[in-house]
């Protein structure tokens, strides 16, 4: 535990403070013709605008020899509250991706959409066109509340409609008020009027660190509600949404070799009505604004604020801010993965959940997601929903369109879910190499190969239909939520991972470090041995992770 009083605030805090409400020198950086990059300080500020500077790490050395700077490009993340977008927005995003990025839309684990490989000279046009599509990228990254997630599909359409609307309301309420976004990207110059700007919720330095909110609609915990800074768990009675259980202090990120950093599950602290959810969110954000650690970015998430001061203090602090929660209502979760294929909701509308490997909307030899989804978007009377597992739901399909859409799905090979084993369909990986600056090992590019190994193992042990949750990240920051997986691989060095086991349990149990710094061969050996043990000794219907705990292979830990 650090003592914030004696330590200076981080450099990022200084950058935010002097950024004049997130302007920084972005306009000058964009105008600098001599580099494809933006000024170092602006790379912090740009995140608040939904823009990450990246470079191709694989060509760095080569380009230095070529007397060229690194191959800079930008990732732009469009904010899609609750993951819902219209067919028109989908088409616009695909066209923008084709015109200004590497051509692929990428669906994220926070139900947002990313463009990759946008060059500096195209940034402003891209941002304007995203805005024209009635979407924005503001606060999609940075030390603010980010895209608010929501379980994208529920049998009870009314519950989903209401929950997703609250998600959008919370998102809207927590959007920064600065006009910097408008000025820099849309107007291209300072807006008229010079009344001092005010951030009523965030203040001039925003939050100490990123902040994540998601709403889960049981029995699905696809949003991994316990991995959020603030989670809302929908409570349903007699077919109506009556409110939310409130969970606080979840978070995945940690650093190798720094025990003061750790993943943490959120604690359920009570229940609120739907209408109170916005006020609860504002109060939680403000507590984090006021008490979060601004002296150490590795210790700045809400989870540390809560652990440093105690959960009781936190609940009291909420009370001091006028937020009084009722007792939480028991709810049950059944799964974190998506329910692939066709389903019908209470409105009589149809939904087709498609498997999108790696969240990448591409055309390749197996599937023509790009072309197929465009064709569907052109006729669809419903909407698209991005799932927290990086998949896509064609939603609210009327009976009259069902057949035609089924035909388009088949014609373009969008029914990958039919052939993929559960272990493949449910696996997640972060982007990692070559573009992520934090990556220590491969993740997304390696996932298909590793899943292949796991499939072989499962087949050998007669477990092909086993629902084993595999997640890989290139570093310990946890973007693909590896600490909740049955089998988590966390990158340590090229080709080397820490093997994490024993998570699962619908996102309510963290896994544990089992072995460190393993090669693929060692990982496969370990799993082979454990699976043999599992097959020989499991109880009927017992999940793999539960077995590892019961058999004492992992030490049992209390639910956080």
């Amino acid at each position: 535990m650090s003592d914030p009083s004696n330590k200076p605030v981080t450099e990022v805090e200084d950058i935010k403070a002097r950024s004049a409400h997130l302007r920084g020198t972005l306009a000058e950086s964009l105008a600098d013709p001599v580099t494809g990059s933006i000024a170092p300080d602006d790379t912090q500020i740009s995140k608040f605008h939904g823009i990450y500077q990246q470079d191709d790490r694989e060509t760095r050395v080569e380009r230095t020899k070529q007397k060229l700077e690194p191959d800079y490009s930008f990732m732009i993340r469009a904010r899609v509250p609750a993951g819902i977008c219209t067919p028109a927005q989908w088409l616009a995003l695909q066209q923008i991706a084709a015109d200004h990025s590497n051509g692929e839309l990428r669906l994220t684990t926070r139900q947002a959409v990313q463009l990759h490989g946008v060059l500096k000279g195209d940034l402003r046009t891209t941002m304007r066109r995203i805005n024209d599509a009635l979407l924005d990228t503001f606060a999609a990254c940075g030390d603010v509340n980010r895209n608010v997630g929501c379980t994208p599909l529920a049998e009870n359409a009314e519950v989903h409609r209401r929950a997703s609307r609250w998600a959008a309301r919370i998102s809207e309420h927590l959007t920064p008020r600065t006009r910097a976004y408008h000025e820099i990207w849309l107007a291209g110059s300072p807006l008229p009027g010079n009344e001092p700007e005010h951030e009523p919720i965030y203040g001039a330095t925003y939050l100490p660190r990123k902040f994540k909110i998601a709403l889960a609609i049981p029995p699905l915990n696809d949003v991994d509600v316990f991995a959020q800074d603030l989670g809302f768990i929908a409570v349903e009675r007699f077919g109506k949404l009556i409110g939310f259980n409130v969970a606080v202090g979840g978070g995945m990120g940690m650093s190798h070799g720094e025990p003061a950093t750790y993943p943490r599950l959120a604690d359920v602290i009570g229940f609120c009505s739907p209408a109170a959810s916005v006020a609860v969110a504002e109060a939680v954000v403000k507590i984090q604004r006021d008490f979060g650690d601004r002296t150490d970015r590795k210790h700045a998430r809400l989870k540390y604020t809560i652990d440093d001061r105690g959960l009781d203090w936190f609940v009291d602090e909420l009370g001091r801010r006028g937020v009084h929660l009722r007792a939480a209502v028991p709810v049950d979760f059944e799964q974190t993965g998506d329910r692939f294929g066709w389903s019908e909701d209470s409105d009589g509308l149809w939904h087709a959940t498609l498997y999108v490997p790696g969240g990448r909307v591409v055309d390749n030899e197996k599937t023509r997601l790009q072309t197929g989804l465009s064709a569907i978007a052109r006729i669809l009377k419903g909407e698209f929903r991005i799932t927290p597992n990086q998949n896509l739901i064609i939603s609210r399909i009327e009976d009259t369109q069902k057949e035609e859409i089924q035909r388009l799905i088949t014609e373009h090979g969008l029914d990958l879910w039919r052939d993929a084993a559960p272990v493949r369909r449910n696996a997640l990986a972060c982007v990692a190499l070559p573009t992520c600056g934090l990556a220590m090992a491969e993740a997304e590019r390696y996932l298909p190969q590793f899943i292949g190994k796991v499939e072989e193992l499962l087949a050998r042990h007669g477990l092909s239909e086993q629902d084993l949750l595999v997640r890989i990240t290139g570093c310990p920051n946890g973007c693909a939520r590896p600490y909740l997986a049955d089998v988590g691989l966390v990158g340590k060095a090229p080709g080397r991972y820490n093997l994490m086991l024993g998570g699962g349990a619908v996102g309510a149990r963290l896994n544990q470090g089992y072995r460190e710094n393993l090669s693929e061969e060692r990982i496969v050996d370990e799993l082979d041995r454990l699976l043999a043990d599992f097959v020989g000794n499991r109880d009927s219907g017992e999940p793999f992770s539960d077995y590892l705990h019961r058999a004492g292979i992992l030490e049992s830990q209390p639910h956080g």
Binding site: T35, T59, R63, D71
Partner: protein, 611 residues
Amino acid sequence: MPLGKLESGVSAARPNINPVIQQDALADLDSAVADFERDQLLWASGYLAGLAVARATSPAQRPVAPAEAPAPASSTEPAAPWTVLYATETGNSRFVAQELAEAMSAAGQTAKLVDARDYRPATLKQERQLLLVVATHGLGDPPEGTEAFFEYLLGSRAPRLPQLSFAVLALGDSSYEDFCEAGRQVDARLAELGAVRLLPRVECDLDFESDADAWTKRVVEQARARDGVHIAPVHTLRAAPTAPSYSRRHPFQAELLTNQKLTGRGSSKDVRHVELSLEDSGLSYQPGDSLGVVANNPAPLVEQFLEYLGESPSADVSIGQEALTLGEALRSRLELTNATRSFVQAHARNSASADLAALADDPRALAKYLKSNQIIDILRQYPAALSAQQLVASLSKLTPRLYSIASSLDANPDEAHLTVAVVSYTRDGYAHFGAASNFLAAGPSTVPVYVEPNDHFRLPQDSAAPIIMVGPGTGIAPFRAFVEQRRHQAAVGKSWLFFGDRTRRNDFLYQLEWQRYLKEGALTRLDVAFSRDQAEKVYVQHRLRERGAQVYAWLMDGAHVYVCGDAEHMAGDVHQALLDIVAEHSGRSADHAVSLLSDLKTQGRYQRDVY
């Protein structure tokens, strides 16, 4: 005057000088120099002339014949001096003019070598014998920097010149419509002004060397014919002992130190940074100079020729008197890429093609055709069953390629750097190659080079003077040398570079260096135009115009302007942009802009190296 002056085949290297030297002494002299190379002979002739001057009894400023020798009975005064005037762009005309001056001197003539850029047109009236070697540049224009001379000569102020005898050798490139236009104009105008033409004008194509040699020989013969044999002291001798011993004819084998691609993976171009070692060569250069590269032809291209002939590389052929293998001839002796009119004519005969013969006689159509067809294309389009010797005979000598040097010798002792665009494309299903660029890109262990000076592309004498450099594409090369030089000198003068190419991401040549120089202050400003980074094409001239006010302010502040790169479009567009900028920001007329730029040229403050 007796002396075999009209005998054919008189060798310039062994002039008959019976009147002043005994037969025995001549034999001694002959044997003493029997093993001398041509350069050594030339040097020796200068050396002997020097001895003659030293022994002169008269202290008169004007050198006279050796004292021991009686003045030639039939000649009462020294023959009239010759002026060899050249107008050069790439150095070829200067090369020919130098050889001519040397040959004239060796033949006992007084010959003064002058660059048209340094020539005061008013002295034309005093000239008696003028030999002109005139290159044509771009679209029928005179070479950069010689505009003043041409304007005077072709304009109404030019005096009558009845006293003058002259001959013109015109150099050009038959892939341009107005082939040898500048030389033609000079030739016609001098005659119009009443001067006497000693020889009909000769026009040379890219393969100028054999035509130029023949013309030189005839000029020397003419000179002898005019005043008989006359021992005149050598006035100008370029092959002086202090001159570098490596030249176009005797290139230095420079070790290739670096061959680094500069363009990124996504580029549509392949541009190389080439570093060569000049160690122990004695070669030196200044920023602005060019390096001549005497390249071998790319192996795949040689292969295509062999395939065409159906011959083995070991087949015997001859070039002139020299016997060699076909492979060797194609690899290192013959021009295989740039076609000329003479090749088209030869191949028209070889292929018995009336079409091709007609094409050779239509300059306009020929220029257009040669722009987009290499020799191999012509061979394929007009197939002929050629013997190896027939083909060899139709080809001209391999011409060296010039590259603006991209380094400062002070900043990189013993090195010369080049920026080389590798020309390589597929057309009609066949790979096509630029000869020198592919030779360099293939990474030979050594590269035969010589230095081609360019005194008309020089940093200001005053290192505090501001400079504006416009160098898109590989036109960036000399400016890297300029900035390196000024950085090395810690010069205080401001510098402003305009660079352009296709994309910032992959075609920003020397990007990291410019970023560093900007940071350090060695480069004051950098404006870039990347034509393919946005919907509308943007080029350097657009950036100049956008910055017009500052560009004009720099000019008024004494800035020197340099332009390097494409002659066909860029140089003209940039020139027009400068004219418009001056007109707009001076608030004066377009005429004022024209005269201001022309003054800048005269003052050496507006220099171009365009190709």
